[in-house]
Symmetry: C2
Subunit: 319 residues, 2 copies
DNA sequence: CACACTTACGATATTCGTAAGGATT
DNA sequence: AATCCTTACGAATATCGTAAGTGTG
């Protein structure tokens, strides 16, 4: 047995109007078609739902019974469908993003603001986590999207290249290298390097460079803010990707590009599950991030003409 | 926008099976037809509800959203339709009958028992009321059916003849007429007649007979049981229709048919509103009553061969 | 290569709108 | 005579099942 929402709507219209012609036009149908629709409903129900003489249309007892529920059924259906439409139109929904701490603090907030202005009804959940937790959250469904680097095991994940994040030397203004326009890795020998923890994707990007493994690395911290403090205090230098440099806006800190031959970079990706599609809101966020790809590429490219780069130049907090 | 229950059922089946071919066969369809059905649902919703590779079928985020409600919507629909089917099949429902007190007490209870045995799920409401209230209850919708006589104003009512109810003389065994086989109205002259109230249909049937208006009628009571008492006490005689005679099973009371030329009767009808149809249960009750028409006609016909009728012979209480 | 969903396509069933019919006031 | 629901009927639409196509493990 089948029953369509149009039949329900026709029933409700007729129960209210008590007039085939009026109810038919309310349903944008001709009266005979409408009449047939009501009859098909009655056939499906197995009872006459309306008593009709040419002068009066009235509900039968069974019709009254049906009438008590029909409106509610229709409202329920409309509510469910409306809810889905809201999600499709991104008036509702939620997106959970997992991002590396460096991105979660500096670059993403601006994107979030943009997204929230465009889709104020969509809830945003931002998790800042190290690389592996980021990927695991996506795998487990705790996050829809990750903005992170790749790890060895990318099983079940789809990684869309987002940008290349080039590393810079960060040192205090009284450091011997502070006045250089560019710096070669070899010149760093003998300096105390301040490292992030081994779970950090920044650290992992550096680890792959054999040249650096020989450097003194007795300082290892978890947060970029600490690196800022340590560098300002003159305790060492650090190598950090451009997207973290917003943290180093300090008058005594200098940010210096690496020489072309010495360039280090980390690749950042938009990561999602390969077997599950994103929600409408998730897809919108994903595409908003992707649309930033060009902007990011331009910002992060090393420009040989730039000379010494001040932190403020790279990523103004007011995006 | 339209949406059919079959689409809902297909969605639920696929969400559970996660397999087009299996879900299709569960819906008694071929797989391509089922596939098209799902697609039509997705088109209606405006979103893809399932992620399908050739190897896996999974709900999309919007599909999961829909899934939370689809089963409920379907259950609601089935409940409503099932309820109507129950009413059509007379497993549920209610019938309100208004009947003249004489019928409500004597004849109807047996009919009620029959109906209740046949349709135990249907509630029965019996109102005993005088003629006019009976008709008004039907007019107002407080009763579906009335078993009563006609009144002057039968507007908006349909009256189906049910039976003719012939009057009998009721007197005590020591009354001069007690030994007669039949009685002529003229023979009643000079006797004290015990009347029912003016609202009674019995009284109204008698009132139309000019012969009786000359009789002494100083005793007027409301209930038949009182008539029984008065007659037994030797305070008078009464004229009552056969369907009330079950009340006069007393060793000292005699029930005597009226002579053919003196016959008085009241006509009883099944009465319903002419502009509203009966519910399934109501119709069933109506037809059960109609089916009694033959039986009643036989019972109530005056049989000239019967001679003096004892009350016990006419309507045994144990029906 | 076997399984599983989609596409293609002709046949069937439904639904629609126009026009005529019938009933009621 | 006017109103209003039903019936009749040809046209448009939708749905179905069979068969071929495509993609994945």
């Amino acid at each position: 047995m089948n029953l369509s929402s149009r039949q329900l709507r026709a029933f409700v219209a007729l129960a209210q109007e008590k007039h085939f012609t009026k109810a038919a036009s309310r349903c944008h149908q001709t009266q005979p078609a409408f009449s047939a629709l009501i009859r098909s409903l009655e056939d499906a129900a197995g009872v006459r739902l309306f008593d009709r003489t040419t002068r009066r249309v009235e509900l039968t007892p069974e019709g009254r019974l049906f009438n008590e529920s029909a409106q509610r059924l229709l409202n329920d259906l409309d509510a469910v469908l409306g809810d889905i439409q809201d999600h499709v139109a991104k008036r509702k929904g939620s997106v959970a993003v997992a991002a590396l701490p460096s991105l979660a603090a500096g670059w993403l907030p601006g994107i979030y603001a943009q997204f929230h202005e465009r889709y104020p009804g969509v809830e945003l959940h931002l998790h800042d986590a190290l690389l592996m937790p980021c990927l695991d959250m996506v795998r487990l469904g705790a996050a829809d999207i990750a903005v992170a680097a790749k790890s060895g095991d990318m099983n079940g994940l789809h990684a869309e290249p987002l940008c290349e994040d080039y590393f810079y030397l960060v040192c205090r203004d009284d450091h011997p290298l502070a006045q250089h326009e560019t710096v070669r890795l070899a010149e760093l020998k003998g300096n105390a390097i301040i490292h992030l923890g081994k779970g950090s994707s920044i650290r992992q990007s550096l680890a792959s460079h054999p040249v650096l493994s020989g450097l003194n690395g007795f300082l290892e911290v978890d947060h970029l803010a600490t690196v800022t403090g340590l560098v300002t205090a003159g305790l060492g230098i650090s190598l950090l990707p451009s997207m973290t440099l917003f943290q180093f806006k300090h008058e005594r800190i200098r940010v210096i590009p690496l020489a072309p031959r010495s360039r280090i970079k980390r690749s950042l990706y938009l990561i999602r599950r390969s077997d599950k599609s994103l929600s409408s809101a998730g897809r919108a966020f994903y595409e908003l991030l992707l649309s930033q790809r060009g902007v990011l590429a331009q910002r992060n490219d090393l420009n040989p003409d730039t000379g010494t780069i001040k932190a403020a130049d790279t990523f103004p907090a007011s995006s």
